[in-house]
Symmetry: C2
């Protein structure tokens, strides 16, 4: 009884705690980055960049278009915020070293949500990018929970692998899931919303039991981050993170490199349409010179052709399609 | 008449344009960074870090707690988003080199607002950190306009100047405005809101005519970014960016360094209370060994004492007070 009374007296929301006290609950949950020469607590952090350059990418995750609190746990939000940025670093052929994380949170948000996000960030880094850590951040107020992650990487002396180096004759290869995250999202929209279309948290628990792999693929993906360095070291001529769907992202390589990409239907798996259109798997799409021994876990899925900016499946031209945050979001949160 | 018909047919909102077309209107307005080895357009950018380290800081600006669209022009939003991050880099004694900028914008936002933000970012960089530039970013949907900036700097071989190096006997010095931004904000709240407390854009125009310096100090400040490198080169023992008010930020130095800070009332100017409490001036507070010739435009404003974590004015103990995003925001936007 005493314990319950004590808990009730403790501030629980971010607004009750204020910025400094909320940060004091988050920071101890994070592990230092090996590359941090000066970590959180000052105006800025100082991070090692041994080869005299650093790779940097930034992404926002917004309640509504990018996640639903009724579907994702706070741990999964932190995990996904880290994972999606780590793959952008990996897609340059770099080893992730550090993140900074800025969060805008409603005053009414329970502080345990921030703790869960911190736990998810920490465990995702430990799993996908050992040695990388959070070196700084910001916490401010907003009516919409928003997580802004900026991630850094070390090219370790190698040139960056861009989107523009694919050459006709190269092998098109892919590492990671194809369509699992989209199947998970379709399940959530089809079976974890109520009659009015609002996310239903009870239904998610049922889905997690029935389709654990697909739901986790959507809510807390584990993309092949280490494959980025392997691809660069193995001679990749181009590479990118597949966030908006294989077709839409492959067209970006095709346009940047001035080449065509011809997918092999047989290599894409049983559901070619899903493999090409499904977003958010965050696999790595790379091209390699013909005859290259593909590094694990890359698989050959097509060939680079000389038809600038165009996509094909077994030689037949296709359109690209994929996620756009404006056409893809109906304005709901939940 | 033809021209008008053409204009009406062109997409104008961010939602009508979509992510790629909106980015295509922003990116050409930015200038490349001297340090950019690979700029926007790939999964990540590559930035030079000549001395094998980089300084990094991140900050969110959210519609409501951090700005009002009825008060600030888009240009001013971009300018302030850059300026506040540049001073955090400067406060480490580093030269700013690059920014990444992530924006979450409502679908209904006119694309010209994003163009104005880009113009403000560009011109602030040109004015306060020549050679620095935007190297990457993200654009996504949200019901609340949110600007996340992460800024980078080059220590040029010097050790970073932290908050923890102040020693008893050091001179306390300050560069920049003291209280102007807070006076501007008070004017806006007092004279540019309507009877129900909502921001009134017409009244701002009147205020801009009557108090141009104070309104600009709040909406588009020009902090002494270059003074950061000068302080570091001139022997500063500690330094920080004064964002939450001189008293609250000085206490951070006092706590991190285990010292006291005794301000001179005469040096703080005619309104000591305003100088100590007013936030958002983004001046630089630094300490220097006794006898140091202070670099321009630093002015002596007090002395470091041996009373750990405590603040004084002419030897009399004071409390700190300043901005907290949770206690300081009433939930309104406008």
């Amino acid at each position: 009884m005493h314990e319950r009374a004590d808990q009730a007296a403790q501030p629980r929301t971010v607004g009750e705690l204020g910025e400094d006290a909320a940060l004091a609950r988050i920071l101890p949950r994070l592990r230092p980055a090996d590359a941090a020469l000066l970590g959180p607590g000052d105006d800025a952090a100082v991070v090692a960049a041994a080869d005299g350059r650093f790779v940097v990418t930034t992404d926002l995750m917004v309640h509504g278009p990018d996640f639903r609190l009724a579907w994702s746990t706070p741990f999964e939000l932190g995990w996904k915020a880290a994972a999606t940025n780590l793959t952008d670093v990996a897609a340059m052929g770099a080893r992730p070293t550090a993140l900074v994380v800025a969060i805008a949170a409603p005053s009414s948000l329970d502080a345990s949500v921030l703790e869960g996000i911190a736990d998810g960030l920490r465990e995702c880094l430990a799993a996908l990018a050992p040695g990388a850590g959070v070196v700084g951040g910001d916490l401010t107020a907003s009516s919409v929970l928003t997580i802004a992650v900026t991630a850094f990487g070390d090219l370790e002396g190698r040139p960056p692998v861009t989107r523009s180096g694919a050459r006709p004759g190269d092998v098109v290869a892919h590492a990671g899931a194809r369509g699992d995250a989209a199947r998970g999202l379709a399940l959530l929209f089809d079976e974890a919303t109520d009659a009015s279309g609002e996310p239903d948290s009870a239904a998610v628990d049922v889905l997690r039991d029935r389709h654990p792999d697909l739901i986790v693929a959507q809510l807390a993906p584990s993309p092949p981050v280490g494959a980025g360095v392997a691809a660069a070291a193995g001679g990749a001529t181009s590479m990118l993170d597949v966030s908006d769907g294989l077709a839409r992202d492959a067209r970006r390589v095709a346009q940047a490199s001035g080449v065509g990409i011809d997918f092999s239907a047989a290599a894409l798996g049983p559901d070619v349409r899903l493999a090409l259109a499904g977003g958010e798997d965050h696999g790595l799409l790379a091209t390699f010179p013909p005859g290259t021994a593909l590094p694990e876990p890359f698989e050959p899925i097509g060939l680079v052709t000389d038809a600038p900016g165009r996509l094909f499946v077994d030689g037949v031209a296709i359109d690209s399609a994929g996620w756009d945050p404006y056409s893809g979001w109906d304005g709901r949160a939940g």
